[in-house]
Symmetry: C2
Subunit: 143 residues, 2 copies
């Protein structure tokens, strides 16, 4: 098994509403759409999908307990503290719930959390110790 993550899928209650949030709200562009069923976004070497939550439950044979936090968080690393503030403001304007306003954190960075319209948790952080390449790949410095 290679050390890779290919796809993160977010189960959503209303696909059209979720698209408005990510596309009009956050400014993403859909790469592949199966109308009314699934939407894929090409990210930095991986893919993010939006899929009906009921469909996702069925697909994976899950039991949906309806919880909003299962112990997984997603993070968007910004290139500066100012970009963190801008992304948090953008998300809030698009209807996200601000779970934790951005602040200086103990590990030396600056970070906040918002919940998307389905309660999926996104951290928005500036980490001065990690590299973001021009084409958006995240790299942990060696050594």
């Amino acid at each position: 098994m290679e050390q890779r993550l290919s796809l993160v899928t977010l189960g959503v209650g209303d696909l059209a509403r979720a698209r408005v949030f990510y596309e009009q709200g956050l400014g993403w562009s859909a790469t592949s759409v199966v109308e009314g069923q699934v939407v894929f976004y090409q990210m930095n070497g991986m893919i993010l999908g939006l899929f009906g939550r009921d469909d996702l439950v069925k697909d994976g044979n899950f039991t949906d307990t309806g919880a909003s936090f299962s112990g997984i968080t997603l993070a968007y690393n910004a290139r500066s503290e100012a970009e963190v503030d801008a992304v948090m403001a953008l998300a809030q304007k698009a209807g996200a719930v601000i779970r934790k306003p951005a602040e200086k954190v103990f590990w030396g960075g600056y970070s906040g959390y918002f919940l998307d319209l389905d309660g999926h948790p996104w951290e928005v952080a500036h980490n001065p110790f990690w590299e973001i390449t021009k084409d958006g790949r995240m790299v942990i410095p060696q050594g």
Copy 2:
């Protein structure tokens, strides 16, 4: 906001146990370790972290409902159906719960699901329509 995902963090009940699963079980190598606190794995242009579940709850100001499915799935796309079978077998040997054995699926691929030791859901799939580059980036073909 760029169209990127930087980091996926899995909250785990026992960091040492989780490391054994991912490193000895699945064969990954840790890139950065803060002993007893957090472990990061350099993936294909993004990073996967293991972090104490209680610490993650505190970090994001969450309420932990203890649920095992919040509507997020992670996927590893294999390069062949045989690799799907091999990865599912590897995960099971490492202690994962097989939620759905790999099978041909309606969209033309081949896919199964396992749960890691903390219940985080991983799909293992072969998708004949999507490209995996030699260096492991996932690409949706244009057009």
